[in-house]
C-alpha cells in the first residue's frame, strides 16, 4: 500500500496542535483520547476515505467525545474553516461537543452515546453488500466503550454476516475518565474474546503508520470475516504532561500548559 510517512507525520503534528488549540480556546473538551486516536484518523481520512466518490468508504467515530481529533482532520480537508475552530463547543457553532452530521455532512454518524457506533457500522456494511458497493466501513471505538453490552451484540452480528468489508480500530489507550479501564471493569483478554466472537484480530502500535497501513492492507484482503485491530495507543500522546494521565480525558488547558503542549508537539517528544 502506498503511503507517505513524512506526509503522515507532518499531518499528525498539525492535527495535534489544532486539537490542543481547540480545547484550549473552548476551555473544555477531550484532549487525551483525541491525541491517542489521531494517528489512526489521519491515516484513514487521508488514504482510505475518498469524499469525491459517490459510494465512498465510511468512518464512524464511535468514541464521539474526541471531536477535536475529527475537527482537526476536517479543518485540513476543508470541511470546516479556520475561523470556526475557535467556536468549538460554543453556541451557534457547527462544531458540537459530539459529532452532528446535520451540521457537518461529512460526518457519517451521530455518536457520543458510547457503544452505538459499531452497530451503525454493521448496518452500513450490510447495506454496502446489498448494493454491491465495494467500499468499506471503518469504525473507531474506545476501550472504555467496550464495556457497553451493545458492542458485543454488534461483534456477534458482524461475524454472523461475514462482514469482510468492516474494519474496527480499538483505540486501546487503557485509560478512561477516572483511571485504568481494566481496573474499572476488566476487558482482558480482549484479543481472545473478540476472536471467540468470530473476528480476525490484529494487534498493532496505534501510533506507527507502517503498522496501521499493514493492518489495513490485511483487513482489505480478509475474506468472510470482519477485522478487529487492537491499536495500542497512549492517551495524551505527544504532550509530556498529558501522556497516560487520566486527568486529560476531559479538561481545560491553562495558558502555561498550552505553551508547553505546543512545544512538546513541535519537538516531537
Amino acid at each position: 500500500m502506498k503511503y507517505d510517512l513524512e506526509f503522515l507525520k507532518k499531518k499528525s503534528e498539525k492535527y495535534r496542535k489544532i486539537i490542543i488549540e481547540m480545547v484550549y480556546k473552548a476551555k473544555a473538551g477531550h484532549p487525551g483520547g483525541s491525541l491517542s486516536c489521531i494517528d489512526i484518523l489521519n491515516y484513514l481520512y487521508n488514504y482510505k476515505i475518498d469524499f469525491n466518490k459517490e459510494n465512498r468508504s465510511r468512518l464512524i467515530l464511535s468514541k464521539g467525545h474526541v471531536t477535536p481529533a475529527l475537527y482537526a482532520v476536517f479543518l485540513d480537508l476543508g470541511f470546516i474553516f479556520q475561523e470556526e475552530t475557535g467556536t468549538f463547543r460554543t453556541l451557534n457553532s457547527r462544531l458540537q461537543g459530539h459529532p452532528d452530521r446535520n451540521k457537518i455532512p461529512e460526518i457519517d454518524a451521530n455518536t457520543g452515546l458510547l457503544g452505538q457506533g459499531l452497530s451503525i457500522g454493521v448496518g452500513m456494511a450490510l447495506g454496502k453488500k446489498l448494493k454491491k458497493d465495494d467500499s468499506r466501513v471503518y469504525v473507531v471505538i474506545g476501550d472504555g466503550e467496550m464495556q457497553e453490552g451493545q458492542i458485543w451484540e454488534a461483534l456477534m452480528s458482524g461475524s454472523h454476516y461475514k462482514l469482510d468489508n468492516l474494519t474496527v480500530f480499538l483505540d486501546y489507550n487503557k485509560l478512561s475518565s477516572k483511571s485504568n479501564v481494566n481496573e474499572i471493569m476488566n476487558l482482558e483478554p480482549v484479543k481472545s474474546k473478540v476472536e471467540a466472537f468470530g473476528w480476525e484480530v490484529l494487534e498493532i502500535d496505534g501510533h506507527n503508520f507502517e503498522e496501521i497501513g499493514k493492518a489495513l492492507e490485511y483487513s482489505e484482503k480478509s475474506k468472510k470475516t470482519p477485522v478487529f485491530i487492537i491499536a495500542h495507543t497512549v492517551k495524551g500522546k505527544g504532550v509530556s504532561f498529558m501522556e497516560n494521565n487520566p486527568k486529560w480525558h476531559s479538561s481545560a488547558i491553562s495558558d502555561e500548559e498550552y505553551s508547553i503542549a505546543i512545544q512538546d508537539i513541535e519537538r516531537g517528544i
Partner: protein, 311 residues
Amino acid sequence: MKKYEYISPRDYIGDILIKEAEKNNKIVVIDSDLASSVTTHKFQKKFPERFFEMGIAEQNSLGVTAGLATEGFVPFYVNFAIFGTGTVWTQLRQSCYANLNIKIIGTHSGMDNGSDGASHHALEDIALTRVLPNLKVFNPLDLEDLKGAIKRAVEIKGPIYIRVARDVVPVIHEKEIDFNEGNSEMLFNEGNDYLLIFEGTAAKQAIEGFELLKEKGYKNKLLNIRSIKPVDKKVVLKEAEGMKGILTIENHTINGGLGGLISEIVGESVVRIPLRRIGVQDKFTESGKTEVVKEKYGLSGKSIVEIIETF
C-alpha cells in the same frame, strides 16, 4: 349496537411491507427474532436478501437500522412496541438527532400482549416517542389506516414510529385511506354532548363506549387521532368548542400519551373545557386475557360510559 368485523392489524404488516417493497427496492426489514409474531416472516420468505435477522439484540438491531438508512435504504425495524421503543430508546434518539430515514413498527401496543403481563405491556411507547424531535408518530386504526400509514412512512424522508394493535379492532375503513401526518378523522358526529378522542389501538373500546352512550341518548362525537405527532390541534380545538367535555381513550398510560397530549393542546388554548382521561392510571398491569386486562385496568366501553355519566 352496530356490528363490526374485527381484525388484528398486526396480521397484515408483512403483506403490506411486501407490497411496498415490490414498488421500492430500497425497502428492507430488520428483525430481532420475532418475525413470525410481527408477521415479517412473510417478507423474509419473499425477499430473503432484504431481510436482516439480528437476533435478540434490539439495541444492535436499531443501530443496524440506522446504518442501512445512512446507506440509502428505507429500513423497517418491526418489533413489539416495548422493545422497539423502550429497549432502544437512546439508539432511537440518536437516529432522530441525525434525522435518519428509519421506520419503526411497534406491535403488541398497550395491553395487547395480555397474558405476557406487565413486563410486555407497552404502556409508555407514545410518551417515549412523542418527546423525540424529528420523529413522527402514527397510530393507525384498522387495515386500511395501517396501509396508509406505512405507505406514507415510505414517502416521508425521516424517522417514523408506527404503533400497531395486536388485539382486534373494528374494521371502519373499506377503501384506501389518504393518510397524512397531522390529520385526524371524525368518525361519528352526532351532536354537542361529549367529544371522545381515541387512538387506534383503543378503537374497539372507544367505539363500544360511543355506541353504549348513544343507546343512552347521548349525542357525542368520536375523533380518531391517527397521527400523534404531528397532531391535528386545529380539529381538536374546533371540535371541542361548545361541547360539555372531552374524554380521551387510550391503550396506554394516561401520563404522557394521548390524554397528556390532548391536555397540553387544550391547556395552551383559550378553550375552557373539562377533560378526563381513560387509560391505565399510573399502575403496572398484570397477566390475563387481553380483554379482561384492559377492562380491569380501566379501558372498556363500560368504563367510558361510567366516566361520562359522572363527568
